[in-house]
Amino acid sequence: MSTLEELIWLVPLLPLLSTLWIGAGFLAGWNRGEAGENESSKVAIITSLLSLLLIVAIDIKALIYGIDETIIVGNWFNSGMFSINLSFTLDTLGLLMTTLVATITLLTIRFSVNYLHREAGYQRFFMLLSMFSFAMLLIVSAGNIGILFVGWEVAGVSSYLLIAYNYNRNNATKNATQAIVTNRVGDASLLAAIFFSTLWLGTLEWSEMAASELLVSESGGMQLGLISFTLILAAFVKSAQIPFSPWITRALEGPTPSSSIFYGSLMIHAGVYLVLRLEPFIENSVTASWALLTIGGITAIYGYLSALVQTDIKSTLIFSTISQVGVMFVGCGLGWFEAVTIYLILHAIWRSWQFLNAPAHMHSMSQPTAPAPIWLQRMQRLYAAAMQRFWLDQLTQWLLLRPTQRLSKDIHAFDSNVVRPIIGSSNEINVVSSLAEWEEKSAICDLESTSNSVPLGSGMFGSILQQIATLFKWIEEHLILKGGGDGMVSAIKGMESFINKVEQQLSMPRYLLLMIMATFVVIL
């Protein structure tokens, strides 16, 4: 007989079951259309309610009797020194966060029942909300970074799918792509953290990491620094801190409840949660504290100033949200972890309320928003910058998206110009594909039949001579005679322009960057 807290795995699993159920139902066709709305939303609500009840029960038990802080349900996989347990952390932070997530998701799902009624994407929406709920619950209850990473990824994917909820709209899909591309940076960073932790700490478990000898040893500064750095970077991306903020300000394309739960209340705090988990590391690393202070501080100011000029409710809310999240990072940098934990929870609740009420905000305004302070209003340059959101948007386009796009184009060109000819499936098959070509070919045909041969020789010598003669003729004809058009001259010219292009390509920053990166890899 297992104890209550050992059922903690059910908390994230239940919403996952709901996702699978709704998804399966949609594929099989039993819950499609308006008739299937009721079932889909009921499944989502019941599973979330059960999750919530379970975690509340565990809370109560923890409060009265106390429970083990780490629950290991099983082993996910082992490979050499690398092993990931199916473990959960039920310390105060874990319990608080899990309860918060379960509560807000339940309320948001219930809210969506009426709000999304008769939407074409109803089932999809509930499926994704459940999936997100699974992801968030996993993140906050995970006992190790491996499990957290799973939640991290699923949250990213469900967010991507919900931004593109209205996938007929160009803006929605484009912004969704930007969100997921930006988030890749954080994901890569988290992966690196997993790698470093395994390498240097020999564990991914939060509890063991916190108790690691490295923390007290003199020599581990570098290693600790790298682990914290990668984790904090991941946190910055997920919580949309500078310079990664633009993805979230463009993510508000989905239905109001999804904007609320993802960007207003829950997902944006995932990064802060990660940093809270890092408490022992940060307390031992001045650099990490400074990073948090600086980036958090800058983001807070950035969010504040940008929020002032926004005129649509969702944008003003999101900017003030990232500003407050920046404040939380500053709090972490100052070492006020408990205060930040409490504020995180309050902030999540408040934003969830505010976002869900966003359509009515205009009616609740009895007076215009109080104008910005006079000293600020005088600074027109700052105003222009705030209007452009400090160009972060364009900057990320410039630094991230466009090089990626160009890279893919280059790869495509490489593929079609180099790889395909080599492996033979050339896309320039030598066939007639247009009438003009047909015309040309039929004109040439007559010529070729007469001119393309040398006099016939007889005997062995004769035939050898003939072969040689043909070869020379070929050389003469193809490389020299045809000169201007498609002979050697043009071959050389072609070579030249090709080399030019290669050189040009190589001088572009992205390749420079690639080469530098390659060099690093070799050195490491």
């Binding site: 929020a307 929870i345 309320w353 009420n357 007639v432």
Partner: protein
């Protein structure tokens, strides 16, 4: 000269830009108000050409109606005949086309048969790939088409047996080959990609079949040049530079411009959402933008190196800038205005809002006061050219100028040819994969040019092949497939087809093509309207002399028995039809009337808690009078207290709601304090909306301490001050009051037989989380609540001085009669009463009885409303129904608190007796008018003039938002995002969405309002001839007018071309029920009429 031309043209932009006011002042209006001078079908067409928005429902929707019996064959036939009578349409429906069979058993097919098939069954053109799919996957050559009727199927099989073919497979194959034979076409079923690999035979056959005097490539060049010229010719007609560039590069610079522009406009027009605005606002938008742009560094990241230099040389004046820019692009002066119109249409929602503010200077005294359309156009133009410049540079290293582009593409016609087809045509995928890399790579050097040529040749070849969709002659995919489907539906087999000549087939094809999308839409719409009309007329004719209160006893002898126990005057609103019907069912001794709910007393209203006065008037008027509500002296202390509390509450709410999104460090504190309350609210409101809603109301009222505060209104001015809207007069003089009361009572026809209690019922709608709140309110009061008007009217009519004056004018209101004002909340059905303290004690019991009846009415009406709400309980009890309806109103997760005017279909201007006792499914506007009190038609004339546009506005807004919600409506509410307090966007970067959201129109049935007037047609004709506004609305077909003869069952339909035509439709007796609920219970679809025995035949 041209400067003035531009300035003069700008106000006319309102003809094609959305004219929607800021969303808090939403008032229903004809979405195509700018085209109202045109005929309805022409207007729809003109708008479609301009904006691409569809004017009719999709064929599929109508076909669904046809299948479900909402449109029948006789409707369609009648509509076809109606369209046929229009000479321009050239339908010639009775012209025979071909004949099947020999003389004895021959059957003639006319154009009508073909039209009908083309309407009922889709006869689309098909692509090569689709045909392969149909043949290979759906076995269309082995089976009949799925949608073919059993009779047609039987016919074909039976007649084929005579020719020795029995199996379905053979019959269908034979039909297909017969068609191809007759058309002399060969279906080779070559896969499109095999065109890339032409065999020698194919190529030579192909090349022989095409005349090539010039040589293939020269033809390509020639065609390309023509195409290019045609395209450039469109710039300044229906295309902008951005459009042109999009068409030749596939790069839409609007995507770059839109976010930059939107943020700037929104911040400029903002009504209080943002905390920080430019400090140059007084200089106009152009200057604000210029300053902001100069300080902006976007150009660095956007690859716009010329940004700074360009900005420096811009003229200071917006209009000059416009002219400079137009010249630089190379637009001919004669096209400037047109070009600017097209620019405005690029982002119609935002342009429309800008223009609205331009045309309504001084709106709400907002800053900036200066909103000039030229500023906006100038900014848009500059941005367009800058970004176009970037594309032109990157793609071709050219200037963004029409002449330069012309010069370039005349030299490189192959490049243009490839680009044009790649980005505009429907190139098959295999060609796209070949052509796309060319445009990606930027092949600019002359060495690369042969690649363009080669690709152009390939595309040209593809275009010549059967696989492309050619416009001329017969083709398998267009003519062949259409005929294949048509003949199956007509029940004809292969042998039949072989007797039809190719000339006849050609004319069949032409006939199908004759029916354009718009033509089909119009035919369907008319058929659909006719179907409703027939039911509606039948119900009215059936009700002749059945309804109560037909005769008010214009004769002087009044007997008390004919006086109703109470008279309730509602708004003409279609939503009140149900409410009135239920009330009359409950107590047949009550009479109800309807009128526009401004009740003839437009004024500026300032409630006791209001900070400023708002105009409660139809949107076309600006009142000159102001009415203030004041607390009664004994309550002044309480009121003072209340106001303090309210202001404190507002400050607290503002501190939290706005502070948490505006402040920085303070926000942290605010959130920390506010969050626990938010959690409690969130939980309660989501888990139990109704209970928490009620408790919150109680809490609110306790907090604001307004219990027991009695207010009154000062309505009387001592003497007239010759008021104007700027110089308003407080209250109305007795004379003015008498004028207004007289006029409105005359409108109603209520000039005698007054009940002891006359209740004037205004209305409004209160719901949560709903940016479109005003769209549910009273249209006659500019989208506000009309309760104050009801209260004001009642107060006027109760004054003895006014009554005395009215006696002089022939209206005697007995002393025993008392007027009461009230307001009906159409969302949760509640009713507020005004000035009950002044009610004579003798009438208290009357009122109690009435209130009891109204309470029953609320539940019954709620029950009826539930039937159209998908999430409401099915077959609810009265209690359940009312709970559901009230719950919706306070549920902040409800995107459909109520359904508004959805399903409105008709209007009756006449006595209640005409509609009394008949179920009209909440679809009819009811406007009281008594022909007996209006011998010279003056009253009717003003009623038509005032209410015609209101009804048309509501009905047409619903119409257009329904037929094309994407373009005329505002899409789904769930992704809406309120911007600047004046409109909604989709997400954070879209155009401003105008019109109605999807949630408001999803059950609406798009048709024009059927206006029935109970009057003599001669009188109506006279009025019509006198009134150009009516000629526009009715004559151009925006409203459908009919007249019911007051004294007989006769109904006449007004046809704008031929005048009055007597209706002689089928008359069938209506089903009879005791109560409405028997008729609608368990039914969720629109219902036809029935008669309600209880209320119509009750003995008084």
């Amino acid at each position: 000269m041209s400067r003035q031309l531009i300035l003069d043209a700008i106000p006319h932009f309102e003809h094609f830009l959305p004219g929607q006011a800021p969303i808090k002042d939403f008032v229903h209006h004809n979405t195509l108000h700018g085209y109202q001078h045109l005929n309805f079908p022409d207007a729809l067409k003109a708008s479609q050409e301009r904006t691409g928005a569809r004017g009719y429902e999709l064929d599929e929707r109508y076909r669904d109606y046809f299948k479900s019996g909402r449109i029948n064959l006789s409707d369609l036939n009648s509509s076809l005949e109606q369209c046929n009578s229009d000479k321009e349409s050239q339908l010639n429906i009775d012209e025979p086309i071909f004949q099947i069979g020999s003389n004895s058993g021959s059957k003639e097919f006319t154009r009508r048969d073909i039209y009908l098939q083309a309407l009922i069954n889709p006869l689309p053109a098909i692509t090569a790939c689709q045909l392969s799919w149909e043949i290979e996957e759906k076995n269309c050559l082995d089976n009949f088409q799925e949608d073919i009727s059993p009779e047609a199927r039987e016919n074909i099989l039976k007649s084929s047996t005579l020719h020795g073919k029995e199996a379905e497979k053979d019959v269908v194959k034979d039909l297909w080959s017969a068609i191809l034979e007759q058309l002399e076409l060969h279906h080779l079923a070559i896969h499109p990609e095999s065109l890339l690999d032409l065999s020698a035979e194919e190529a030579s056959r192909f090349s022989n079949s095409i005349s090539n005097e010039l040589g293939q490539h020269s033809q390509v060049r020639q065609e390309s040049t023509q195409l290019f010229n045609k395209l450039v010719e469109r710039v300044g007609k229906d295309l902008t530079l951005r459009g042109l560039i999009d068409k030749i590069s596939g790069r839409d610079i609007l995507n770059n411009i839109r976010p930059l522009l939107i943020h700037q406009i929104a911040n400029y027009l903002d009504e209080g959402m943002s905390a920080w605005h430019s400090n140059q606002q007084q200089d106009g938008f152009y200057q604000v933008w210029r300053q902001s742009a100069t300080l902006d560094s976007s150009w660095i990241f956007d690859d716009l190196p010329e940004w700074q230099d360009e900005l420096e040389i811009l003229p200071d004046d917006a209009l000059d800038t416009i002219i400079v820019e137009l010249k630089r692009i190379g637009i001919d002066e004669s096209r400037w205005v047109k070009y600017l119109e097209e620019i405005a249409l690029e982002i119609p929602g935002w342009s429309g809002m800008f223009l609205w503010r331009h045309l309504n200077p001084g709106y709400k005294n907002l800053t900036p006061t200066r909103v000039e359309m030229v500023d906006y156009l100038a900014v848009h133009l500059v941005m367009e050219r800058l970004f176009a410049q970037r594309v032109c540079r990157e793609e071709w290293q050219l200037e963004a100028n029409l002449d330069v582009l012309r010069w370039y593409f005349h030299r490189r016609s192959s490049e243009f040819y490839v680009r044009y087809h790649l980005f505009n045509g429907k190139l098959p995928e295999y060609l796209v994969t070949h052509a796309k890399p060319l445009t990606d790579g930027g092949l600019l050097s002359p060495e690369d040019y042969p690649k363009w040529k080669e690709q152009a040749d390939i595309i040209w070849t593809w275009k010549q092949s059967d696989n492309s969709d050619q416009d001329s002659g017969f083709s398998i995919y267009r003519s062949g497939w259409k005929l294949f489907r048509l003949f199956q539906h007509l029940g004809l087999n292969g042998s039949n087809v072989r007797t039809i000549t190719s000339e006849q087939l050609r004319s069949v094809c032409i006939t199908i093509a004759n029916l354009s999308e718009e033509q089909r839409g119009l035919i369907w719409l008319q058929a659909y309207e006719r179907n409703y009309r027939e039911h509606f007329f039948n119900a009215v004719a059936n009700n002749h002399q059945r309804g109560l209160w037909a005769d008010r006893g214009v004769s002087t002898e009044e007997s008390t028995s004919t006086i109703p126990v109470a008279q309730l005057v509602f708004c003409m609103d279609d939503r009140e039809e149900g409410f009135r019907r239920h009330l009359e069912e409950i107590n047949p001794k009550i009479e109800t009337l309807g009128g526009a709910a401004h009740f003839g007393v437009p004024h500026f209203w300032q409630g006791v808690d209001d900070k400023e006065a708002t105009a409660l008037t139809p949107v076309v008027l600006v009142p000159s009078h102001e009415i203030r509500e004041n607390e009664q002296p004994q309550c002044s202390l309480a009121q003072e207290n209340h106001l303090k509390r309210v202001s404190l509450k507002e400050r607290v709410l503002t501190w939290f709601n706005q502070g948490t999104r505006r402040n920085f460090i303070l926000a942290t504190v605010q959130i920390t304090i506010g969050a626990p309350v938010a959690l409690a609210l969130l939980g309660c409101k989501i888990v139990s909306p109704l209970r928490s809603g009620n408790n919150l109301k109680k809490l609110n009222s306790w907090l604001s301490g307004n219990n027991g505060i009695v207010t009154s209104i000062d309505i009387t001015a001592e003497k007239s001050t010759n008021p104007t809207p700027e110089n308003r007069q407080l209250g109305f003089t007795t004379e003015e009051q008498a004028d207004r009361v007289e006029s409105f009572l005359q409108n109603l026809g209520l000039v005698s037989n007054f009940s002891p209690l006359v209740v004037i019922v205004g209305h409004g709608s209160i719901s949560q989380n709903n940016p479109h709140l005003a769209a549910y309110d009273c249209g006659a009061c500019s989208g506000r609540h009309s309760g104050p008007n009801a209260r004001l009217f009642a107060a006027m009519a109760n004054r003895s001085a006014v009554r005395a004056e009215l006696v002089n004018r022939g209206i005697t209101i007995p002393e025993s009669c008392w007027f009461l004002g009230s307001e009906h909340n159409t969302c949760d059905e509640s009713i507020i009463w005004y000035d009950l303290d002044k009610l004579p004690t003798g009438l208290k019991s009357n009122l109690q009885q009435l209130q009891q009846d109204l309470r029953d009415t609320q539940s019954r009406h709620a029950q009826e409303r539930c039937r159209r709400l998908a999430s409401a309980p099915k077959k609810p009890t009265l209690k359940q129904a009312l709970n559901h309806i009230q719950g919706r109103a306070v549920d902040f997760s409800q995107a459909r608190p109520e359904l508004g005017h959805a399903t409105n279909a008709a209007a009756v201007i006449g006595r209640r007796s005409l509609s009394h006792g008949t179920f009209f499914d909440r679809r009819v506007f009811l406007i009281s008018y008594d022909y007996q009190t209006d011998p010279d038609g003056k009253i009717l004339e003003r009623l038509l003039l005032a209410n015609g546009p209101v009804g048309a506005g509501i009905s047409l807004e619903y119409y257009f938002s329904t037929v094309d919600n994407e373009n005329y409506g505002s899409g789904s509410k769930v992704t809406h995002n309120v911007s600047g307090l004046f409109g909604v966007m989709d997400g954070t970067n879209s155009d401003l969405r105008t019109g109605l959201p999807k949630q408001m129109i999803e059950i609406h049935e798009a048709m024009r309002l059927q206006v029935m007037v109970e009057a003599k047609i001669d009188m109506l004709t006279e009025i019509y001839m006198r009134q150009p506004p009516l000629q526009e609305l009715v004559g151009n077909g925006w409203l459908l007018l009919s007249a019911k003869d007051p004294e007989s069952e006769q109904i006449h339909i007004f046809d704008p071309t031929s005048g009055w035509v007597e209706w002689n439709g089928e008359r069938t007796p209506l089903p009879v029920v005791k109560q409405s609920v028997e008729w609608f219970s368990g039914k969720y679809e629109p219902l036809t009429s029935c008669r309600i025995e209880n209320s119509s035949e009750a003995k008084l």
